[in-house]
């Protein structure tokens, strides 16, 4: 219990940040599965950002080698044009992950913002925002996407992410609002108000951190939802079957080339499925650590 010198105090903020990351590392180390999750996530991020740059476009075809079985050269075989399936998965990951990321960001920003604002302000504004949220929750997403797909090609992940994000923020807004409602009655919020601290300070410094684990978990869960939603839409053929996307691969494999019945064509279907599975597992494993990462008590212990 050494008494801190005054000069030591100015570094407190830096110390805090360092302690936070040390705490995060401690939380991750607590279970090896979490480290695996983070490693997998990093792998997918690298795959989506740097991966497509590794391949020349269009992807090289091997016309003599349709649906080649897995080999060292083609770990997952080749597709109907003789294109390496692994390269298709890598190139397709960018669309999938970017869309998921955009969806998640829109969901979190809208959901958190609206939830915080409504819960903190209460009153008439709260009522209006919550009605809008209810409408958002009741919008039938699939029919809207069907209609939109007749107008839009969804060739860009931005379009896809925007639509999925705008359709999906309602649940988070509700959850954040109810959290805010219970937190704003807590002593520390009242104390902050009594001390004359500004509303932005109260909302972002006092309210947001305790809600952070919920938001982080929701962010990750909406990533999963966005991945499966878009892949599902392409797979079902709701969206035009063009572009580089795992859903497109699955659609072709199953509906055009009978991967379900022909053993030789199975790798073409299994490769994107495996990627989806690993991505989902990675997210689920990381979600497990979120509560502890954002809760100082759990982080330190």
């Amino acid at each position: 219990m050494t008494s801190g010198a005054p000069t030591g105090l100015s570094t407190t903020r830096g110390d805090l940040r360092r302690n936070f990351w040390r705490g995060v590392w401690r939380v991750l180390r607590r279970k090896p599965s979490r480290l695996l999750g983070v490693a997998l996530m990093l792998m997918f991020v690298v795959m989506a950002t740097a991966g497509p740059m590794l391949y020349q476009r269009p992807l090289p075809r091997d016309p003599d080698n349709f649906f080649a079985p897995p080999s060292l050269q083609h770990p997952f075989g080749t597709d109907f044009q003789g294109v390496d399936v692994l390269s298709l998965v890598v190139v397709g990951s960018r669309y999938v992950l970017l869309t998921a990321f955009i969806t998640a960001v829109i969901t979190v920003v809208l959901g958190t913002g609206i939830g915080l604002f409504a819960g903190f302000r209460r009153g008439r504004l709260d009522a209006v925002l919550m009605r809008i949220t209810d409408i958002n929750l009741t919008i039938p997403g699939l029919p809207i996407l069907l209609v939109l797909s007749t107008v839009w090609q969804f060739a860009s992940p931005w379009e896809m992410g925007l639509v999925l994000g705008l359709l999906g923020w309602g649940a988070l807004a509700r959850a954040v609002r109810s959290q805010t409602l219970s937190l704003r009655e807590r002593g520390f919020i009242e104390a902050a108000r009594g001390l004359g601290l500004s509303t932005p300070h109260i909302v972002f410094r006092e309210l947001l951190p305790p809600i952070a684990p919920y938001i982080a978990m929701n962010l990750l869960m909406s990533l999963i939802l966005a991945v499966w939603a878009q892949v599902g839409l392409f797979f079902l053929g709701v969206m035009p079957v063009i572009g580089e996307n795992w859903g497109v691969m699955l659609n072709r494999a199953v509906f055009d080339f009978g991967a379900m019945t022909t053993a030789a064509r199975l790798p073409y279907m299994l490769a994107p499925l495996l990627a989806l599975l690993l991505l989902t597992v990675a997210i689920v494993l990381v979600v497990d650590a979120m509560d502890e990462v954002f809760n100082p008590r759990l982080r330190e212990e």
Binding site: D15, G194, N295
Partner: protein
């Protein structure tokens, strides 16, 4: 100086137009917090003492009456203009566990209000750090140990001290302590009470202490006034020692009689008063608001007049006021010795 006159607060349920479920939390309360003085509000849970404390700290609105802070009548100001005045009155919460944000360190908790203060007074950021250390030293904590820690790493007593230090960041004129020690370990309580007393001496800050525990109120402000509140009305007020040693209102006497006696060290007061059990009268007395004295349904000394007429605190009736600055709301004021006294050790 802070004073209030005729403070009325009624809680209504939403959509309750007819006022069927309204709760009269405060029925016209007057009080004065002298500069550098200490006063206490005493009463059972639900008597309105906490609501009054929150109104004084500007955390709750009132329906009628006037609060004057440093000579400025709050009703003359808009809500926004009231805020700087109410900021001079800081509330110390009962629960030190919820009064600190669990995700923020003590340093962060003190830094933000101090930064605001520094900006207002044009001080440097170095001052913020020095002031944070100074305040923690003032409340008896070791800054080097406490500053980088999160609330969960501190004991209840330390947390309450941090809460007090945080309230001091704005250089308040008044600290409102609402049951400030009830959630703290017994061996540490007196330390917090002592701290509040010391702060009053050292900084000249006034104290408003809200509690159901008369003995702690005496410890904090033996030289100040005590206000005994029953169902939203002050039934007796005056100098603390007078109220404890010569109470005249049967409710005050009941409250004092209910305090556990440390047999072996103390002996019970000679004329203890046991109120009629509130639960047996709940059906008649507590919910119906008839014309009589509010305490009459539970009062062992009530007369026919008490059920008909309501006594008013320090009314024109001369019997209701006596020389020592004590006022009471009772038609039959009789001094009774109810407080426990020490037994001299053999």
């Amino acid at each position: 100086m802070i004073s209030g006159t005729g403070i009325v607060k009624t809680f209504r349920q939403r959509g309750d137009v007819l006022g069927k479920n309204e709760v009269k939390a405060l029925r016209g309360v007057d009080f004065t917090i002298p500069e550098g003085g200490a006063i206490s509000f005493i009463g059972e849970s639900g008597c309105g003492k906490t609501t009054l404390g929150r109104i004084i700290a500007g955390l709750e609105t009132h329906d009628e009456g006037e609060i004057t802070i440093g000579g400025v009548a709050m009703s003359s100001l808009r809500t926004r203009a009231q805020q700087p005045h109410f900021r001079r009155i800081q509330l110390i919460h009962q629960d030190p566990y919820s009064a600190l944000n669990p995700t923020r360190t003590v340093h962060q908790a003190l830094h933000d209000p101090l930064k605001l203060r520094a900006r207002e007074t044009g001080r440097s950021s170095q001052w913020i750090y020095e002031r944070a250390e100074e305040l923690l030293g003032l409340v008896g904590l070791d800054p080097g140990y406490v500053l980088p820690r999160y609330p969960h790493q501190l004991s209840g007593g330390m947390r309450q001290r941090v809460v007090i230090a945080r309230a001091l960041t704005v250089d308040p004129d008044v600290l409102v302590a609402d049951e400030a020690v009830s959630m703290i370990d017994v061996s540490l309580r007196l330390g917090i009470l002592r701290l509040l007393r010391d702060l009053r001496e050292q900084l000249g800050v006034s104290l408003l202490y809200i509690t159901h525990d008369v003995a702690t109120a005496r410890y904090i402000g033996a030289d100040g006034d005590m206000y005994v509140i029953y169902r939203g009305q002050v039934v007796e007020s005056g100098p603390t020692e007078t109220i404890i040693n010569q109470p005249v209102h049967p409710y005050t006497q009941s409250l004092l009689s209910a305090i556990p006696v440390l047999y072996g060290v103390e002996q019970p007061g000679a004329e203890q008063v046991t109120p009629i059990d509130s639960l047996t009268t709940a059906a008649v007395g507590e919910t119906v608001d008839d014309a009589g004295c509010l305490f009459a349904p539970r009062c062992p000394f009530r007369t026919e007049r008490c059920t008909r007429e309501r006594p008013v605190l320090g009314d024109a009736v001369p019997a209701l006021q006596d020389a020592e600055g004590r006022v009471h709301a009772c038609f039959h004021p009789i001094e009774r010795q109810v407080a426990a006294t020490s037994v001299q050790a053999p």
